[in-house]
Symmetry: C2
Subunit: 249 residues, 2 copies
Amino acid sequence: MMSTNSEPSTRTIGVLGGMGPAAAADFARRIVDTTDANLDQEHLHVIVDNDPRVPDRTQALRGVGPSPVPCIAAMARRLEGAGAELLVMACNTAHAFYEEVAVAASVPLVDLIDAAARGVAAQVPGIRRVGLLATDGTLLSQVYERAFARQDVDVILPDAGAQVRLMETIYGAVKSGARDLGPARDTVLTLGQGLVDAGAQAILLACTELSVLAAQEPLCWPVPTFDAAQLGAEDVIRRAGGRVRGRET
Amino acid sequence: MMSTNSEPSTRTIGVLGGMGPAAAADFARRIVDTTDANLDQEHLHVIVDNDPRVPDRTQALRGVGPSPVPCIAAMARRLEGAGAELLVMACNTAHAFYEEVAVAASVPLVDLIDAAARGVAAQVPGIRRVGLLATDGTLLSQVYERAFARQDVDVILPDAGAQVRLMETIYGAVKSGARDLGPARDTVLTLGQGLVDAGAQAILLACTELSVLAAQEPLCWPVPTFDAAQLGAEDVIRRAGGRVRGRET
């Protein structure tokens, strides 16, 4: 229909959002910022569906809330209808439902968890232990344990008390849209340091709400720090036929 | 189909993006951040089409490039097909084509320019002169001059030399994705101060690329400063049936 795109072989990306509301906009922004392009017209075509009605993923995994799959699958169909040729869920926890969503979609669904685990392993050669900051739902589903096991990397988690504080930070500060995210940052920094003290050789921020926090000002520890949303965005760009800025030419 | 939304009377917002690539993600993020909501599920449903193939708006208005209207109209139809009930263009310059796009759409198209002019006039009672930082395309179309005339406000523009530097900043730094936007910020701050010195009683950032710049760190002058994207986002939230955070309850 239109033929002004300089990369005719690229695929339109559909971002399944609303988990939470800020995460999909942050993810779309990462795709733009990470694409190697000098002109507007050299960027990838991205369609974002930010449907806030998606039921809470952790609640569903705990068995105390409805499944998010019908709502996510409906988004996938809307995005495909609008032309998406490659889908990605801008939510780590939702990947507990990866298989169900992938089956409902008729175009490929990128696996953010696998992309993050491969990214960390590739960038820290010989790594044996990664510290994971994620929601209770993500921990319950053990998606990261399985993905890192394929890379021969063990996952170190916060202790129960620290994990409770992490969930409080994600839900009480980032998701509720607190104006001052300083205390949330301090909490996450302390929790990450605990993982470093416990032997983590890298830290992975594995919740797109933590990615939103890190996008405002980087979260840094004395070991390499990664963001699943960023590693996922890079994977999506490559799969869509784009060029990742600064890593390859 | 789904009925978990706590605000069943809200309308799904469709954001016409790709002008430039970062602007639509920034605009979507403003809608999330400006919506008064405590839970994910209280946010508005927003679908963003970030199609980078939209031809340059200023080039078209100068008569040296193709019209962006067919591409924007195609986005409008895709968004309507995906369920959008209210559309908005995340680009000030594109509003030169407002009538043509509105005719092509079968749902209402929010007028960002008018929302911005009304917002400035409402928040600075008695204002007579506003300083405008916008693209050459926006100036050529005189959309802001007409919108502010309806509010009895005169528009003050940079002189020709300053305007050339502004365009260089928008195209050479923000659109090209420069890592260090410090020099761009300094240029815009100097240009805005020139408008204040010339009698502007408020400054309006009237280009969504400048909004992207201001989102990283506020641009401030010794007069009230407004961002057309922010005023537009507030207008869109109200029209979609949402509540604007901090301004009304």
